[in-house]
């Protein structure tokens, strides 16, 4: 019984995660420039990757037929989630910083840009 409930909760998490993923893909298509698109990417990695990985861990932990391997699956899913939590923000930060410094693209839809003074104010 408890296993069934675990699996149900996990599968609902996976479904919600896939919906977030779809939203992130839509956002990646619709948002106007690179920096706003990275926000959509964040939604795709946190809501669309970490959340369903926790769901997979619950599903695997509840699936009795898998035998002792289910703990392995659950542990590996959790570790992958932690890895994504560490790696995804560092990667998007690196890309954003490099794109800003290389001015490709220059942030156009911006209300205020306080970084411009530091990066471009001095030399250029």
């Amino acid at each position: 019984m408890i296993e069934g409930v675990l699996m149900l909760v996990g599968s609902v998490l996976i479904l919600v995660g896939s919906l977030f993923d779809l939203l992130a893909a839509l956002g990646l298509l619709r948002l106007p420039d690179l920096y706003t698109r990275i926000h959509a990417l964040t939604m795709g990695t946190i809501g669309g990757a970490v959340l369903p990985l926790i769901g997979v861990a619950l599903v695997a932990a509840g699936w009795v037929e898998l035998g002792s391997y289910r703990w392995y699956l659950a542990g590996a899913a959790i570790v992958t989630a932690i890895l994504i939590l560490m790696l995804a923000p560092a990667g998007s930060h690196a890309i954003a910083r490099a794109a800003y410094r290389a001015r490709s693209p220059s942030p156009s839809y911006v209300v205020i840009d306080e970084l411009a003074k530091k990066v471009r104010g001095g030399g250029r």
């Binding site: 890895l83 560490m86 790696l87 923000p89 560092a90 930060h93 690196a94 910083r97």
Partner: protein, 269 residues
């Protein structure tokens, strides 16, 4: 961009149509329902305690084929790998010690994350190597995995920092040579034992064969180690990782110094 996407999509449609025509026509790819006879032999004999003379006692059949059934072939492929690296080093001779004094690197956040991830990559790579005979993996996979840790450190910290931590040309050359030496020695280990015990053995012999009664034990105290396969995996992993590290260090030497040296040596001849 629109016309390119259209071209790619029409190619997809063409592939689908062609595949449909092939499926209803005669020239379809044959997908077997049964295994092929050779594969059947491999699958039944890779781990089979009842026929010890034909078995390699390795539950991971791909690794069994790579390091036992066609071990000599793999050994010569490693030699090709070695020659490619030697060729690169020979091409770049004279500029391998022109490492820069200062490094640029990326931001602190990326550096910190890379530091933690490099540890995890090295551990995961070692796990892939050491469990090559039990789960998917082996020397090539683990070696390539560890090489990516070097690549990440190289990009995030810069070459000068790597040289500071003694990951440089000399060290990787030494480690690579050590791995290759170990590979050759563990290939001949059964032969050496047979010379001492005055019996027969083959090169790359893992388990006892006909007319060659000795072989490494496939299990020690009930723990499966699959004879020489484990040793070969370990040394191959070391050689591959150090070889790729050597390649990356060579390729990322600073360009201005390198070009100067190359042009001056060309002018001198």
């Amino acid at each position: 961009m629109g016309s390119r996407l259209l071209a790619a999509l029409s190619m997809c449609a063409m592939a689908l149509a062609l595949a449909y025509a092939l499926t209803v026509g005669v020239f379809s790819i044959y997908i077997p329902i049964e295994l092929r006879p050779l594969a059947k032999i491999l699958v039944t004999s890779a781990y089979n305690e009842s026929t010890p003379l034909f078995s390699s006692m390795t539950p991971e059949i791909v690794t069994a084929v790579v390091w036992d059934y066609r071990g000599i072939d793999t050994f010569f492929e490693v030699a090709v790998f070695y020659v490619a690296i030697v060729a690169t080093a020979a091409l770049f001779r004279g500029i391998e010690r022109s490492a820069p004094r200062t490094s640029v690197g990326l931001s602190t956040i990326v550096r910190t994350v890379t530091r933690i991830v490099a540890l995890m990559i090295v551990v995961v790579g070692s796990a892939i190597i050491l469990h090559g005979h039990l789960t998917p993996g082996g020397g090539f996979q683990g070696g390539a995995t560890i090489a990516v840790a070097v690549a990440l450190a190289l990009v995030a910290y810069g070459l000068a920092k790597l040289v500071e931590h003694r990951i440089d040309y000399e060290t990787s050359l030494k480690v690579r040579s050590l791995g290759l030496l170990g590979l050759s020695l563990s290939a001949c280990i059964a032969l050496i034992a047979a010379l001492i015990l005055n019996t027969n053995a083959y090169v790359f012999q893992n388990q006892p064969k006909t007319y060659a009664p000795i072989g490494l034990p496939y299990a020690v105290d009930g723990v499966l180690i699959s004879g020489t396969v484990l040793l070969l995996n370990i040394f191959d992993g070391i050689a591959v990782a150090a070889g790729f590290a050597l390649l990356l260090i060579l390729l990322s030497q600073p360009e201005d110094v390198a070009r100067e040296r190359v042009l001056s040596s060309e002018g001198g001849e």
